[in-house]
């Protein structure tokens, strides 16, 4: 099936001459959770704003479920729900009025039962008559999500959804995102919390200085990245690694004082225990032991620094 969002050759140069996006090519698959990672000012929000129709692109094309965002903007936009980063709500409207308004704005017939369900799912039903201004920050965030979901979008953009959000709401939000995904909604979230991408995403894209520097399946990424190193400082240096240890991916430091064992921490049997047993049997003693983790954060920092 063709991808739900297809971005090709999109650039954005602001009137000030600032190049926010340089040649973005990106396909979002139907039904996936895609995490767009990047430092502040990398172009995440600009890219989302272009897809949603808030910012005009300088060049390139974007289609949403095959609909060009300029030519068929009505169909394209009606498929999308957007939760922006900032809590921007008409403060004087009631929760109920503003969510129903959003639904109407997107051309959907009034459906009070559906709006009620959205509000209940987001624990906002008790607050339905409250004015937005009286809500706490977390509740406002829920309200923004309710507005975005009010017209039953097929694609949901969450721009920094958990910035400044407490643990409870964060967990609720993750649960909600998973529920939506089960219903076939495609979710694109931007974040600079690496753990969030690790926990949620099917695929991860990294954007830096207006360029996509990496797009990878998360499981694949974690496999290549999710390697751990076990460092063993030896009591007495070795001349070489004994042949009996050939089944372990071992490296000996040039001075022979340190053994490094690289293993897959996702694996059921990483082989750490057996290595340590075998070392003991072979009479190789160590005075210290340490492990090093490679994570998404590590590669992220590496990717982002490379261009700096």
């Amino acid at each position: 099936m063709p991808s739900i969002i297809s971005i090709s050759g999109v650039t954005k140069t602001y009137a000030t001459g600032f190049k926010a996006l340089k040649e973005i090519n990106l396909d979002i698959e139907r039904g996936e959770i895609f995490a767009l990672l990047g430092p502040n000012g990398a172009g995440k929000t600009t890219l989302i704003s272009i897809v949603c129709g808030i910012v005009n692109r300088s060049s390139g094309t974007v289609t949403v479920d095959g609909n060009d965002i300029s030519r068929d903007y009505r169909t394209a936009r009606s498929l999308i729900g957007l939760v922006p980063q900032e809590l921007t709500i008409d403060a004087f409207e009631s929760v109920w009025a503003t969510v129903n308004y959003s639904r109407g704005l997107f051309g959907k017939p009034a459906d009070h039962a559906f709006v009620e369900k959205v509000l209940r799912d987001l624990s906002l039903w008790d607050k339905k008559d409250a004015k937005a201004i009286t809500l706490s920050g977390g509740m406002k965030r829920r309200l923004m999500i309710a507005k975005a979901l009010s017209h039953e979008p097929r694609v949901l953009f969450l721009d920094e959804p958990t910035a400044g959000v407490d643990v409870e709401l964060r967990q609720d939000m993750w649960a909600m995102v998973r529920r939506l995904r089960e219903d076939g909604v495609t979710i694109i979230l931007t974040t600079h919390y690496i753990e969030e991408a690790e926990a949620m995403a099917d695929r991860v894209g990294v954007i830096n200085r207006g360029e996509i520097v990496l797009v990878e399946d998360k499981a694949e990424l974690m496999r290549t990245l999710g390697r751990k190193r076990l460092l063993l400082a030896l009591r007495s240096p070795l001349a070489s690694i004994p042949a009996t240890f050939s089944r372990y991916a071992l490296e000996l430091s040039p001075d022979g004082s340190q053994l490094t064992y690289t293993y897959d921490n996702q694996s059921e049997r990483p082989g750490v225990a057996s290595l340590l047993r075998d070392l003991e049997t072979a009479g190789i003693q160590f005075r210290d032991i340490d492990t090093q983790n490679s994570s998404l954060e590590e590669i992220f920092v590496k990717l982002v620094r490379r261009d700096a």
Partner: protein, 253 residues
């Protein structure tokens, strides 16, 4: 046409008016009553009648126009400026609505509010002075045309403004002086020669004059010119709005 969106915006705008009923309805009624007391009684005791119309009755069309102009502008400019200011405009821009639909909804809402207000002021005025309306159709036509035109004008200001100060600038510095000098409270025949000519360049004169004609069948300038000038101004506003939307001016970067 996304009529549901137009209706949603329109309904929201009307709800805002009813929520702020003190500000949107009561305060203009009070200020109009004050005009009657101050101008009608104080000046009316010296000028008994103009063109055979009692002074109190003479100023009614001008007073309605005064409120119609200022309220249309402030309603529409605030309606579009506020979401820009708080940032909730993102939703409008990301929604499947055309610029035409946005205009119809916002300008329609603002114009409806000021028309209702105009009618309330008319009713209030009827309590103070005896009124006749010789051409009810044209009275309504001027009411609607003016409300729509100046709501469009307000919408333009709301999009153009980058601060609350700019939002107030045009109404305060241009519209208010023009309405006061546009023959709301006097006939231009009462002015010395040179000022009469200057006044002819004031577009508000044509609105007030045409509107007064619909009440009493008497006007400073001919009704055809009044109508023509109003329509010209309407088309200027439509042209500016069309340009704004073609370029995304101050809405979409």
């Amino acid at each position: 046409m996304n009529l549901r969106a137009v209706w949603a915006i329109y309904k929201m705008e009307m709800a805002r008016a009813f929520r702020t009923v003190l500000q949107s309805i009561v305060s203009p009624v009070i200020s109009t009553s004050l005009y009657f007391v101050v101008f009608g009684s104080a000046i009316g005791s010296r000028i008994t009648e103009i063109d055979g119309i009692s002074y109190g009755a003479f100023i009614v069309p001008g007073l309605i126009m005064l409120s119609l102009l200022t309220q249309s502008i402030s309603n529409a400019s605030f309606a579009i400026y506020f979401p820009k200011f708080v940032g909730s405009i993102y939703e409008l821009l990301s929604a499947p609505v055309s610029y035409l639909e946005i205009i119809i909804a916002y300008v329609g809402g603002a114009a409806t509010k000021s028309i209702i207000l105009g009618l309330i002021i008319l009713a209030t005025a009827a309590l103070f002075v005896p009124l006749t309306i010789e051409h009810p159709f044209w009275m309504l036509a001027f009411l609607v045309l003016t409300a729509v035109t100046f709501s469009l004008f307000g919408f333009i200001i709301g999009i153009w403004a980058r601060s609350f100060e700019q939002l107030q600038l045009v109404p305060l510095l241009i519209i208010t002086p023009l309405t006061f000098l546009g023959g709301s409270f006097y006939s231009i025949d009462m002015l010395p020669g040179i000022w009469r000519t200057v006044t002819l360049f004031n577009p508000v004169l044509y609105l007030v004059s045409g509107f007064r004609w619909s009440f009493y069948g008497k006007s400073d300038v001919s009704i055809g010119i009044s109508l023509g000038m109003t329509v010209v101004f309407l088309f200027i506003c439509i042209a500016i709005v069309a340009w704004i939307f073609r370029t995304g001016y101050r809405l979409r970067t």
